[in-house]
């Protein structure tokens, strides 16, 4: 399953709730303001590093570029473009956009 989060981890508790419920082997894609969770040096970094041990974590590069944070991406988070986003949606039977 593909989990999609579009909110900053400091704006809502969406990341925490998703990480409570995501099952091992699932994928997590961070888009829009959600990409801030994929940046080093923030209070969310540890949670995301830990998530990378059970989930495949991705961040949408165009959204990271837009926000000037691509250089800070956490190791273990894979950057994808919109084509990669489409591929992820294709590869996983179901997606859940956590709104």
């Amino acid at each position: 399953m593909l989990h999609i989060i579009n909110k900053s981890p400091f704006e809502t508790n969406t990341l925490d709730t998703c990480l409570r419920m995501a099952q091992p082997g699932h994928a997590l894609l961070l888009i829009e303001d959600g990409v801030y969770a994929a940046t080093k040096g923030s209070a969310a970094e540890e949670r995301v590093r830990e998530a990378c041990t059970t989930l495949k974590v991705y961040a949408l590069q165009p959204d990271m570029d837009a926000r000037g944070v691509t250089g800070k991406v956490i190791d273990g988070v894979t950057l994808v473009d919109y084509g990669g986003f489409v591929d992820l949606a294709e590869q996983h039977d179901t997606s859940h956009s956590w709104l």
């Binding site: 409570r20 419920m21 179901t94 956590w98």
Partner: protein
């Protein structure tokens, strides 16, 4: 990996739909408009589960009286769901606990799931719509 149910004798596909509610009622319209989707999905004879997580659990709280805010009280619609054969209502235990809610605070019967159970239920779905 979800398995689609076989079509009833050559009829249209039946998919497992999960409608996810994470927002409180009245402060925004999402709770109300989400319910409208649930009712339509039910008329299409789909296998609908309704889950309430985080502030979504507040949607089910008894005793909503909206006269003072001049907004229609749509909470009776949750009780009407069973008339549409929508009976799979689930709430997240941690969300309830965090908000000091118990099943007796809610206006409809629900199944209370822990995070692992909720995650597994999500993983079984064909379509997940979040509002």
């Amino acid at each position: 990996m979800s398995e689609q149910q076989p079509s009833p004798a050559g009829g249209p596909k039946v998919k497992k739909f999960m409608i996810v509610n994470r927002k409180a009622p009245y402060g925004t319209i999402y709770a109300l408009e989400s319910l409208e989707v649930v009712l339509i999905a039910a008329t299409f004879d789909q296998d609908v589960s309704l889950v309430f997580i985080d502030d979504g659990v507040y949607e089910l709280v008894k005793g909503q009286q909206t006269k003072g805010i001049g907004v229609k009280n749509f909470s009776p619609s949750y009780r009407a769901l069973e008339d549409y054969d929508v009976e799979k209502l689930y709430v997240d235990r941690a969300s309830m606990d965090q908000r000091g809610l118990t099943e007796s605070d809610l206006l409809v019967p629900v199944a209370v799931l822990d995070a692992q159970q909720m995650g597994q239920l999500m993983a079984q779905q064909d379509v997940i719509l979040s509002f």
